[in-house]
């Protein structure tokens, strides 16, 4: 336990929108981001959508004096886009690539090529083990219907699993990033209620930023105004979450967001707003002697968690049904391609048997049709394999969810009947993590 408690920790998070040739004013914006970071000197800066390694190295060079430690998470074809800059030595880094992340043939959406993931770095700040996570989930291109919802729910499931399983030894846990989910969306509820992570926006003592904490706003010239109007002029999809441990209490002293245009600059830092927060780490007041009321509240939380996991399981089942249908369609199309090829070969083979008759097939058409059949067979085989893997991943997540519900219900049985039923409306962000950890 460090002597210098309380410890102050300043965290920054920004989706940098760094798609070369597509994002506007990329180079100038990275220069602005670098200036901001070297001026503000946060303890940790969590960046997303740093798609080009060149940009990471540009920032690394620029921040050499203020943030001597950094890590860029490589994954997928382009990279995960995730980068961490830190004033404190990074002792360890670990990456978990999400199993599902869109479709390679949806190249214009590009998520699949990004290899989206959650990255973890391990810092030792004043003797405390601080586990810092950064992530970026699959984008939401259309809210209703959102064809990527099952993928994002599985990502949120894997994210909470990864954080829960890897942070048992942490004094402090911090998660920042673009989660591409609104605050009441299933994935956010799942993440918060299972891990006990608290949302800085809900916890902060002082807030200075966009209305309702929006991080994607119409006032930003890089956003599409029309897309945001249905949501009241903005959405909150970027977050910083935190939690303490048995030995450390964490509180959020302040949170601020950028507000679109930057005074004295020609344009904003990105199409997302940046988050800056100040966390304060205190020695924990021992919570062992919990009152009965707190126990009931834990039963409420467990009961609520069961409901949320069940909701997630339903969503995964919808995705599974869809993936199975697509796999079936790929198989059927492949079989049709094969049948066509065989038919063509049979027709072409006729003259061999009926010697002397004229060839029934013009050569060009024969080769064209043959090539088409091969192309169909090849593509449908690839698609069948891809959908087969999607089915397996969805089934795997659903199995894990079923197991979790079983285990949670088992733990609920230990509570006296009537203490939690019909009272599952508590705030998920006030959930007690200690009771929900694996092995508990």
């Amino acid at each position: 336990m460090p002597a210098e408690m309380p410890v102050r920790l300043r965290v920054f998070s920004l989706n940098c929108w760094g798609i070369h040739y597509l994002s506007k004013h990329c180079a100038q914006r990275y220069a602005m981001i670098g200036d901001l970071l070297s001026k503000e000197q946060h303890d940790v800066a969590l960046l997303q959508e740093v798609w080009s390694e060149k940009d990471f190295h540009f920032l690394k060079k620029k921040l050499g004096g203020t943030h001597p430690y950094s890590h860029y998470f490589k994954s997928g074809f382009f990279g995960s886009g995730l980068a961490v800059f830190s004033k404190h030595r990074i002792h360890d880094a670990f990456l978990y690539k999400y199993t599902l992340n869109g479709y390679p043939y949806m190249a214009h959406h590009g998520d699949w090529f990004g290899g989206k993931a959650v990255g973890k770095v391990l810092l030792n700040i004043s003797g405390l083990a601080v586990h810092v996570f950064v992530t970026h989930l699959h984008a939401e291109y259309c809210r209703e219907p959102d064809s990527y919802l099952p993928h994002r729910v599985v990502q949120a499931w894997e994210l909470q699993n990864f954080i829960r399983h890897t942070s048992a030894g942490a004094d402090v846990v911090i998660l920042g990033g673009d989660l591409n989910m609104h605050p009441t969306d299933l994935g956010i509820r799942l993440l918060q209620s299972y891990t006990g992570l608290k949302d800085c926006y809900n916890e902060t003592a002082s807030f200075d930023g966009c209305e309702q904490g929006f991080t994607h706003i119409t006032a930003n010239p890089f956003t599409h105004e029309q897309e945001l109007i249905p949501f009241g002029g903005g959405i909150r999809i970027d977050y910083v979450f935190f939690k303490g441990s048995k030995s450390v209490d964490v509180s959020c002293e302040s949170l601020s967001t950028t507000k679109g245009p930057v005074p004295g600059q020609p344009f904003p830092y990105s199409d997302h707003e940046a988050l800056s927060t100040e966390l304060v780490l205190h020695p924990s007041e021992d919570g062992k002697g919990r009152s009965n009321q707190e126990k009931d509240s834990t039963a409420d939380k467990l009961s609520e968690l069961v409901n949320i996991v069940t909701e997630a399981r339903t969503e995964v089942k919808v995705g599974l049904h869809c993936a199975e249908r697509m796999r079936y369609t790929a198989a059927r199309t492949g079989i049709m391609g094969l049948a066509l090829l065989l038919l063509e070969l049979a027709i072409a083979a006729v003259p061999c048997f009926a010697l002397g008759t004229e060839h029934p097939f013009p050569k060009a058409s024969f080769y064209l049709l043959g090539a088409l059949c091969f192309a169909i067979l090849f593509c449908t085989t690839l698609l069948y394999i891809f959908y087969g893997m999607e089915v397996k991943a969805l089934q795997g997540a659903e199995d894990q969810m079923r197991l979790a519900v079983g285990s949670l219900q088992e733990r609920l049985k230990a509570f006296p009947k009537g203490t939690y039923e019909g009272r599952s409306q508590t705030e998920p962000d006030s959930c007690d993590p200690a009771t929900l950890e694996p092995g508990d």
Copy 2:
């Protein structure tokens, strides 16, 4: 802390060789495995290569009475092949799919389609948090040269990372599976020295099994004798590892392997030998007051670990060089395909300009060549994407290794000079995990 210490824990591990239509006597062997497990009643059975879910469900039904809890890890196209049967409730399950796992076009090797992974289940045995891991690494089809070595080294790196990061809250850690590496191979040394896991074969008080603990032997009629003769008639590639924690000491009381043919049965359980071990869990004798000698030994371990990670980094760099060359070849072939297509179109376009002259291209050849060019372009694009992802994954692992070496060297500096230099020949299996954990 449970009252009933010491706790006895019996663990079983077997690669079931369950490839339908390829593995011999699959159904009969699964029946035999089911009989063995229901008779022996181990606490936990860790199975690999259960490629068909039907076989898992067959075992689940058969073991319903003795092992009411089970989990099948789904991953890749066929599944990960990993299954766990347990006498104790499984509270949680988590899967980490290895980033690299062979090549999809090496279909006859099949590893890529299996989606190899490490699975974790969380058990609560007599009040102790027992974290059980099961894994299966990429096969070694040829030892010299082994083109899959960089992939297997990255898998071993990810395996140790996963175990280290997810087992901070564990009282006991157990890992079983087919690691496809010999006991002194780089991956095993990396795994043991970084995690502090102990090898049952080296630790057991009593051993009954094949010579040198071999798990792949010439006496087994399903193995290829010729392949094993250079290694003295067998190899040891299946393992059970374990470690305790600050509160629990673990010792290995016995280890046994099957020895090929099974008395009273027409054939063995599998082409691998099964492992059965009995672990004993004691309350830990407090190790806080370490002597100077132990401190030096820790410095030795750190120094040795630096050497091993550096060796792994070199291996990954070799793989990276190879992957970059393959990506380059794919790009060059693709460009040649494109050039050929453009050339063909140019030649075909000539008659449009030179009206009246005869068509320079027989139609059939034109279409055939066009189709060939398209096929080349399509395939090389896929290969370019695949190799691009392989490059990113290898770079990512290398970055993590570089970071780890930096952090380990930083910790080494804290030791007085001369206490560890030139003394890095200690046994990796005697490594102290407490000093090597993240956040330490």
